[in-house]
């Protein structure tokens, strides 16, 4: 029984909760709202009483269930071992089955699922973004909305002139490849942060990997799966699994924490009731690596030829990379290997930045409050660069530091490594001259 097909699948998890309230200590939403419903304990009670018939699935209940960033901090902190991350996904799927989807999200996911239409929309958006967005003067830091759509003072990145998928060739060859790696490009990298994606390709080829870019890949479906839109999530998963199966690649590499989480954990769960797709999902789950994980454990990255990158950096742990995939040392190991980089840890690097994908669209104020705490912690480090392992976190943090007036670059770990290789090459050729 899949958590996506029946609420009964999580009754064991519900039984484990002894209502001690320890989840309150780490829940970013509860910390801001101080309302019981924000915490896992509150929502577990709602779901229990839904199952017992004391409550009905109402729009009001679905609204309460939307109060979770799926950061998994409660799950990690729960001494009873309650997997709230599973509970919330199962409950949201139930809400969608009974109540339908939140109107804002519905529009977004339908577009995401219709891969080509979405792609066209984003390209159109790239050409005309100036109509709705106002570029921040003299910088490449993004743009603010010209009209208030209810997202507050959010700084959004500029849409790329050309999506990365169109920019990159289908295969980027190297001499005597160590491995053939398929690059899964998530939406935020594809349409906004193409610099990040190019860095992935540069580092992989630098380390002797051939890179395959399947042109028929699409959104991983995280926005749908975390909001209970199981059908859309399954459609996305199927599309991607079939696209990557065709490549016959040795591994899949992702630079997005949520996309990686999807490939490793969500796809197999989505097909719990479909043996054929499940086998395919399991096969590729075992071959999926986050880029930092890949460079530490699969193809150890070249440490010779790294040039100096003079930066004081602090690292923000993306929830789905850190708690979702257990990857927190690998990015730090990469950063520490780069000459000139000084890593200064912030107070709680693992606390959610509040982006949580579509959560930011539905709860913009709450998302901004959670972000403010993170930005304050970043400010205290007196660094010049915030590094993270997820394009969605980068979007949130970039907006936060810009609004706080901090002089911080926000980049992905892999970008600093790519920069270091570049500097290394320059100094070699300079020396040769």
């Amino acid at each position: 029984m899949s958590i996506y097909s029946s609420l009964n699948s999580i009754s064991e998890e519900l039984n484990k909760c002894m209502k001690c309230g320890n989840c309150q200590a780490v829940c970013p939403i509860y910390k801001e709202t101080r309302k019981e419903v924000g915490s896992a304990r509150g929502k577990i009670t709602l779901i229990e009483t839904l199952l017992s018939g004391e409550l009905e699935m109402t729009e009001g209940l679905a609204d309460r269930l939307s109060l979770c960033t799926t950061c998994m901090a409660c799950t990690a902190n729960c001494s009873c071992g309650v997997r709230f991350d599973k509970i919330i996904l199962a409950a949201r799927a139930e809400a969608v089955r009974q109540e339908g989807l939140h109107p804002i999200k519905k529009i977004a996911f339908t577009a995401l699922k219709m891969n080509r239409l979405f792609d066209l929309g984003m390209k159109f958006g790239s050409a005309f973004q100036g109509l709705a967005m106002k570029r921040i003067k003299g910088s490449d830091k993004g743009a603010r909305l010209r009209f208030d759509f209810g997202l507050g003072n959010k700084v959004l990145p500029n849409l790329a002139r050309k999506p990365l998928k169109d920019e990159l060739p289908e295969v980027i060859t190297v001499k005597n490849p160590k491995m053939r790696v398929a690059f899964y490009i998530g939406c935020v990298t594809n349409y906004f942060y193409t610099d990040m994606g190019r860095a992935v390709v540069e580092v992989l080829t630098e380390n002797g990997c051939e890179v395959i870019v399947p042109k028929d890949q699409g959104c991983c479906g995280t926005p749908a799966s975390v909001n209970g839109d199981v059908k859309s999530a399954q459609a996305s998963a199927r599309l991607n699994l079939l696209a990557f199966e065709k490549t016959g690649a040795d591994a899949i590499v992702s630079n997005c924490s949520s996309c990686g989480e999807s490939w490793k954990h969500v796809f197999p769960q989505l097909f719990d009731d479909d043996p054929e797709m499940k086998a395919l999902a399991d096969k590729w789950a075992a071959k999926t690596y986050d880029i930092s994980e890949f460079l530490i454990h699969k193809v150890p990255f070249k440490r010779e030829g790294l040039g100096r990158v003079e930066r004081k950096v602090t690292y923000h742990d993306p929830c789905h990379l850190n708690r979702g995939q257990g990857i927190n040392q690998e990015p730090r190991e990469i950063l520490k290997a780069i000459p000139g980089v000084e890593l200064i840890e912030m107070k709680e690097p693992g606390r959610c930045c509040g982006m949580a994908g579509s959560f930011m669209l539905v709860h913009p104020d709450l998302s901004a409050q959670i972000s403010d705490k993170k930005i304050a912690d970043i400010a205290q480090t007196h660094t010049d660069t915030v590094v993270t392992g997820c394009p969605a976190c980068r979007l949130q943090l970039a907006s936060g530091v810009e609004n706080a007036g901090l002089q911080e670059d926000v980049v992905h770990t892999i970008q600093l490594l790519a920069e270091s290789y570049k500097v290394g090459k320059k100094s070699i050729s300079a020396a040769a001259r």
Binding site: C20, G21, Q24, R34, V37, L46, L55, G60, S79
Partner: protein, 462 residues
């Protein structure tokens, strides 16, 4: 049911966002951390931001004769915050400011919604700490822990919450505001209101400000683990340590069942074959800690410990205490319902109490794990059961009653640190006698004749 005009008036005072009245929200205030209690929905949940708000809410409650249930984080274990019958739940969490840390007088002034750990963090910046540390230190509020007079792991050396409260600001049931106490070490003016209101479980007044004592942070700490093949020997070792005039900050016991369960969860390297272990922490100046640790090691060996282990570094130390702090949740995994008691006896009677609990477990054929703050006589016999098994629940109730009787016959008390609330109210005559309970009720009625404040807790209306 709450009258619509009462709801309107509450919204007028607090604003819509601080008044919850939809069922989906009310359901999340119908319980606290107490096991096997019935959920009761309040009519409304209000979140005051200051003393003036609290006064206005109390006035509205009086006008419409609706009870108020003050609530912090809802982590108590005696049903102290669950509504007994509709009414207003007053969440104090928005009053969460640390008003002052005074490092010259060693005091702190806080609002009731401050989380205990946040006060500790603020104190540590001045080299000071607030010793009471219930298991819920990272979630529980100051208002809640003062109202329950919570204890924790450091009770043996540092005492419990009531030893740290120096004054309060409080709203009475009639809406009057009183403030008393202060930063003086000595103060004998008037009746001892601090003693009256600390541990009053929100039944006599609503606290809106608390002045507490802080103490210098100890310079050094050492943790020692003693392993025993016989639980009685462990009990005797506790008495021996105290007889030798060593007062550890913490002296905890775990029985075999608890050890096995916790180790399975925490992987702290605990000896799963041991019948009991003692966990001891001494703190203070470095030199004193050295001497005391050596002495404790010797005493444990003399009392027949099969192994004595000194935590060699902070990591090992943290692992041990992590395991201890997770004793309850780990035990809770074994069965759906966990009935946790906190009957407490004079520390010299710990060996007797341990024996009695074992006999009770056998007599009623129940699974009871025992752990707790052995050094201060406060044990936590934990009955693992299933609330759906009605036949077993009858035996559970009988066993609980017998545990209370034994504790009292040994010169102890019903509750060392969790409070009476709803869960233990009916047992109060065991400890106080009928005349004693009447005195408690007289005090309640003198302060709150209409039972507006947290009714049904501690004492009940005749």
């Amino acid at each position: 049911m709450l009258k619509p005009e009462a709801l309107r008036e509450l919204i007028q005072v607090l604003g819509q966002e601080n008044v919850l009245s939809e069922k989906e929200d009310l359901m999340t205030y119908a319980y606290d951390a107490t096991a096997a209690m019935k959920r009761v929905l309040p009519d409304v949940v209000v979140s005051p931001a200051n003393t003036e708000h609290v006064i206005e809410i109390v006035k509205i409650a009086n006008k419409y004769q609706i009870p108020i249930y003050p609530r912090g984080s809802g982590t108590n274990l005696s049903g102290g915050t669950i509504p007994v019958d509709n009414g207003i739940v007053m969440s104090m969490l928005n009053m969460n400011k640390i008003l002052e840390v005074d490092d010259e007088n060693l005091t702190a002034s806080v609002q009731p919604g401050v989380i205990i750990q946040d006060l500790n963090d603020a104190g540590l910046q001045h080299g000071l700490f607030y010793p009471p540390d219930p298991g819920t230190v990272t979630t529980a509020t100051m208002g809640g822990s003062v109202s329950e007079s919570s204890g924790g792991l450091r009770g043996l050396k540092y005492g419990v919450t009531k030893q740290y409260v120096m004054g309060m600001k409080l709203v009475r049931a009639n809406g009057d505001v009183i403030k008393w106490g202060g930063k003086t070490v000595k103060n004998v003016s008037g009746y001892d209101l601090t003693a009256l209101f600390t541990g009053a479980e929100g039944t006599l007044g609503i606290i809106t400000e608390i002045l507490v004592k802080l103490i210098p942070e100890p310079e050094a700490k050492k943790s020692i683990l003693g392993v025993f093949d016989d639980i009685d020997k462990a009990g005797n070792a506790i008495s021996a340590i105290i007889r030798h005039k060593v007062i550890p900050a913490t002296l905890e016991i775990m029985d075999n069942m608890t050890i096995r369960t916790v180790e399975n969860f925490a992987h702290a390297g605990l000896p799963v074959d041991a019948e009991a272990i003692l966990l001891c922490e001494v703190d203070g100046y470095k030199e004193a800690v050295e001497r005391e640790a050596t002495l404790v090691e010797r005493i444990l060996a003399e009392e027949g410990a099969t192994e004595v282990k000194l935590a060699k570094d902070d990591k090992e130390r943290d692992q041990i205490w992590f395991a201890r702090r997770n004793a309850l949740p780990a035990l809770a995994q074994l069965k759906p319902t966990t009935v946790l008691e906190d009957a407490t006896v004079p520390r010299s009677k710990i060996p007797d109490m341990l024996k009695a609990i074992r006999q009770i477990a056998t007599k009623y054929n129940l699974t009871i794990g025992t752990f707790g703050h052995a050094g201060d006589g406060n044990l936590h016999p934990t009955i693992l059961t299933d609330v759906r098994d009605t036949e077993e629940m009858v035996r559970v109730e009988q066993a609980v009653e017998e545990i209370f009787q034994v504790a009292i016959s040994l010169g102890g008390t019903l509750s060392g640190e969790h409070g009476i609330g709803m869960a233990k109210a009916k047992f109060l005559p065991l400890e106080f006698g009928e005349a004693g309970v009447k005195l408690l009720r007289d005090i309640k009625e003198a302060m709150d004749p209409n039972y507006i404040l947290n009714p049904g807790k501690m004492v009940r209306r005749d």
